[in-house]
Amino acid sequence: MPTLRTDRLEIRSSDDVVRVRQMARAMALETGLGLVDQTKIITAASELARNMLDYGGGGLVLAEVLEQPGRRGLRLTFEDKGPGIADVEAALKDGFTTGKGMGLGLGGAKRLSNEFSIDSRPGAGTKVVIARWK
């Protein structure tokens, strides 16, 4: 699957969450996503970046514009070296939070994306990959 463009950003403070949104917006435009799809992936990126900051102690976001025969897509990878998630299934349920948020971010990000995968083990960090196709 050819990658047309990649960009990466480190998340260390809440200002970086704004920067992730801007990066996601620029890459979504490049992918050619419509306004609704743009907004969806930007919002999902915002949720995952903030999760990474609040619970994973910050991390790295990788954005890739992908091309397959007949379609283009934007894939975002969020990787942190934080404490990891003990029960991923529970974390995906709406209303579940160990912090002060609404507990909708992770599940919401899943619903906002066409593809979603999460890989997390306690002590080994968390990696979330989402994609939105045109």
Binding site: L35, V36, T43, S46, G101, M102, L104, G107
Partner: protein
Amino acid sequence: MVDVGTIAELVASGEAAILSEWIDLQKKVGTLQTGRITENELVAQSREFLHRLRDGLARGGSDSSDAAYGPARQMLADLSRSRALQGFSPTETATFIFSLKQPLFNVLNRNAALSPVQAADLTWAVTLLLDELGLFTLEIFQKSREEVIVRQQREIAELSTPVVKLWDGILALPLIGTLDSQRTQVVMENLLQTVVDVEAEIAIIDITGVPTVDTLTAQHLLKTVAAARLMGADCIISGIRPQIAQTMVHLGVELNVVSKATLADAFAMALERTGRAVTKRKAAAAAAKGKPIAGKVE
């Protein structure tokens, strides 16, 4: 310890040559091309700095933090600050000092009275000195830029959270940009204070200018609404664009608040709730002028 006093003497005696060579070099890298300073200014700045540097060399030795270099550093600070504000790049700004190296080296090399060892020692001393001054220039440049950014941030924070009175008892809060925790705090305080000040019954929070509504933004909004409610003011949220509405549904965020698509709709609703209505003064007169009101049967 090298006696840099020798350089001071060489600078004094070879001033004209150093100056013209230095200015040529600055021109070559394009200091004048941007049109932000004139050639006369550049010559005056260069000459003045050379004098101050010479005084520093004569009395302060090779230590750029010596008090004798005070005037030279002061001038660099002023120059760096003004260039930062004029929009020069860091390279363009630092070139002022770094391009002086070559003319000074040439003067040292041309001087037959110096042994090769002396010339090398002096060259090294000058290099260190100009590097220090160059770093100083960049530091001031950076600081000036940061001051500009901080000032702009403060201006944005002040400008971006106005609470507007639309009518007796009706307030509008047009939100623009990112609703982070810090800004939400400012917004909330402004809103609650104004609710008290004007005895507002209804506050319209317009989010047309908020590009992304994620769960944190929604949470901040809901807290603001709840706080206003405790103060006796009902809130209406307006300006939720179609793509934001779809996104919020997928996120699973429920805003248990009355919401309207536009600020105008929200205002109409607020008027209705406070027992008012907007009517056309003379519908017949308007029709007579040949301007039928679209979608309305007279």
